[in-house]
């Protein structure tokens, strides 16, 4: 068990470092205009610009930039925003926005599990039944139609039909309804379809047949054996669901003007605020890696076999 966790932790750390490298390298290709505020870009001469960039360290060789960035990171210095919040420390900007995003993500994930898991069970219970058919239609629509379009229609129509606010207001809990709903519908479909598949797979296993031969009632087998086993791969997927939701929140936060980090990323990309983009992408990367690591820990609790076997697969 200890070794399993250690190896997973090592993997997570290596991944974070690699992600950082990749993102860093990618960002070096970004237009350098993103390092200037609008006024600076207009007023500075080319020579001044180069000097400015050199001063920022942007023209240093990659390893040195990385070293500086990581060094600053440990001192809690994330750099300064250029365009969106000219010259404000990014750390401060994020500290304001992070709570919104975390809250929204957690609530949505909870809602997704709350509706998604029962949907999966209902679909699997009677294959080809009404619940299965309706569920399948739902899943196909949610997964096939681009999520942006769905989110857009939710915002436009549901707000009209139910008289809900179209934008997010911190002090109006009712305005949280639509964004949460938008964010969770994708994951509900995901949970439903995967749980259904795992349950159906489990039901064909020999040990489930053997449990029936034992004379155990169907309900008992369903919950204590089938569901218990089918939830294991779901647990592995919890962190990647989280990833999906993160990417969902990019759009949704900007649609509902939620002052969270997802909306911020979109905004800073549109505004070409390079330091901001850099920190945000790295933050999302680190969070995701952490999610995967948590998933691995979770699995070792649900599946007794993990304790013995170390494998990459």
């Amino acid at each position: 068990m200890g070794r399993y966790l250690l190896s997973k932790l090592g993997q997570a750390i290596v991944t974070i470092i690699l992600v950082m490298l990749v993102v860093f390298t990618l960002l070096r290709f970004m237009p350098t205009a993103g390092y200037f505020s609008k006024e600076q870009w207009k007023d500075m001469t080319d020579g001044e610009k180069t000097a400015y960039l050199r001063n920022m360290g942007v023209l240093d060789p990659l390893p040195i930039q990385l070293k500086n960035f990581v060094g600053n990171l440990f001192h809690g210095d994330l750099g300064r925003s250029t365009v969106l919040y000219p010259n404000s420390p990014i750390g401060g900007v994020l500290a304001e926005k992070i709570p919104y995003s975390i809250l929204l993500n957690l609530i949505s994930w909870f809602v997704a599990a709350l509706f998604g898991l029962p949907l999966g069970v209902a679909m699997a219970r009677k294959k080809g039944g009404l619940a299965d058919k309706l569920g399948t239609v739902y899943v196909v629509i949610i997964r096939a139609v681009p999520s942006i379009i769905i989110h857009f229609f939710i915002q436009v129509f549901l707000s009209k039909w139910f008289g809900l606010p179209m934008l997010f207001y911190m002090d109006q809990p009712i305005s949280w309804l639509l964004p949460t709903f938008s964010m969770s519908i994708g994951s509900i479909a995901g949970y439903g379809v995967w749980l259904r598949r795992y349950i159906v797979d489990e039901e064909n296993k020999d040990y489930i047949k053997f449990a029936r031969v034992k004379g155990l009632p169907r309900r008992y087998i369903m919950w204590r054996h089938v569901f218990r086993n089918a939830i294991v791969p779901i647990a592995i997927n919890v962190p990647s669901d989280f990833l999906l939701m993160l990417s969902g929140s990019l759009v949704i936060e900007s649609m509902y003007s939620i002052p969270g980090t997802g909306g911020l990323l979109i905004k800073s990309i549109k505004a070409m605020d390079n330091p901001m983009v850099q920190v945000l992408v790295l933050m999302y990367g680190a969070l995701s890696v952490l999610g995967v690591f948590l998933g691995d820990i979770l699995v070792s609790f649900v599946d007794p076999r993990i304790k013995l076997v170390d494998s990459n697969d």
Binding site: K205, D206, Y207, I208, K209, F210, A211, R212, V213, K214, G215, L216, P217, R218, Y220, R224, H225, R228, N229, V232, V302, D303, P304, R305, L308, D310
Partner: protein, 659 residues
Amino acid sequence: MQKKIFEAKDIVIKFNLRGKTLTAIRGASIDLYHGETLAIVGESGSGKSVFTKSFIGMLDKNGWVESGSMVMDGVDFSKYKTEKEWLAVRGKKIAMVFQDPMTSLNPVKTVGEQIREVITWHFGVKKAEARKQAVELLRQVGIPEPELRYKQYPHQFSGGMRQRVVIAIAIACRPRILICDEPTTALDVTVQAQILELVKKLQKELDMSVIYITHDLGVVANVADRVAVMYAGQIVEYGLSCEIFKDSRHPYTKALLRSLPQLGVRGQDLHSIKGSPPNLYKQITGDAFAPRNPNAMKIDYLYEPPFFKVSDTHYAKTWLLSEQAADYCRQMEQQEEAEDPIPAPPTDFSAAEKLVQVKGLTVNFKLGRGQFSAVKNVSFDIHRGETLSLVGESGSGKTTIGKAILKICHASGGDILYKGKSIVGRLSSHEMTEFRKNVQMIFQDPMASLNERAKVEYIISEGLYNFRLFENNKDRQEKTARAMRSVGLLPEYVTRFPHEFSGGQRQRIGIARALVIEPEFIVADEPISALDVSIRAQVINLMNRLKRERGLTYLFIAHDLSTVRFISDRIAVMYKGQMVELAEAEELFAHPLHPYTNALLQAAPVPDPDIERNKKVVVYDPSVHDYADDPPIWTEIRPGHFIRANRAELDAYKKHLEK
């Protein structure tokens, strides 16, 4: 006669498969008496499993009982529609043990939990009490340290131990009937004997009736009071065990018993059943076995025979028992009264060229971070023209040796010489071509060893292409056709895909693929163990014939000593990566020295109830060897008979041989 406790009558079971309806069980009936053991014997596809599964409502979703009745305690189960109704039957009245213990237990629940839940559910007792009973059950099925084992997960148990757990669960509610569906097929021979013994013990203790479903006539001889033989969805003959084995009447039963490799006579062809069991998609008229029976009568093709009585307990479904067939039977008997064939004397190959020399071979595999030695310091020679059999249980390293000789896996230590030249390490391209051209392999599983997406023509021509063994396309086609004919298949079949053939046919295609390039040495990795009993003889005869005609040399890998006796010139016994004994075949059977060889010989089921009944299970315990101060060495104890033993043991063995 004892009380009848279960009666299945005229059961017809149908399945929906690929848009068609097929009849898997075509009117089968069976009675079960109190306390008896009934064995249902049949090949794959005979419907034996489906038939018994219907007794507890466990048919697959696309199958249903069309007609017939299954009565126990005056209740007809065949009328049951819902799972709920079956709950009263399953576990309490009828319990079942599946074939593969590796998949019968839920991997994420402890073994104890899986036993306890049955007890709690059926008897409604408190958790602590149920736990106590569960531990007691584990003890009863012979699991050491049951308290500790209770808390463990299935992956911490060996195959044999898992099957014991499965049996413990099955008997937890004191069922009156226990159905064992090939309970030992997935297990090693020595473990098999222990499990059979356990079921016998439990049967007495719990006063159960047991139904065995098996294709292994050795197991049947060991356990059964009565035997029912199934073929193509019908029971064709049933009777007491001795009646079936000594006085079988149905041509299928007769042929099956005579085709067993255990009964083979050296130098003679095995009696073989031609063809394959019928495809149940097709309408079967008359006696289903008739097309494969060279002595079938005209009526066999026209009408289905009724059951004829042989004795009060013995019935057979064949027209041969009709009064009108008396004349025909007499004719047949006269034909058959040939002399018993005399076994050919064993051939001594020790003077022949040493084709393969294995010297101190060691093969290591990576296992996680550690290393695992599949083969440890093994040495032996194979002479040109002989058949050397490597016998051992799973994990003994026998297949690894074969693969090392074939250069499919790397030797970690020692040397392998082929025709005097080392083949370990890198060979030049020319040497490699020469080697591959002469050494070929036959595989265990005919389903996995042919590429499903290639036509038979390509599969067989593969070697011809690689070694450019043909002049033009016509020549290649002729060679392919000749290879097909030599394994008894029509050359026209080359345009078909492998999945269109049955298991035995596929195995022969695999042989044709290896033989078309005319190799001189063949490694045959359990070539018959995945095949149906009636097909095995065909393949063995084919291999023997090719050996005679082409002077082939075989390394024959097997897990069961008795089946290789008559085809082997010499036999080597493997245990956990080491070779423990090697001798000429008859010598090994006459004077087995190593305790493991003895255990293996004892465990191998023999299709004769008289022998099987009086057999004692010998368990090999490696701790009998005291190798701490006196390490074992590979010694030739008498000419041609090698054994792994230390000095003290050698002295004891020598004394034993002198007696």
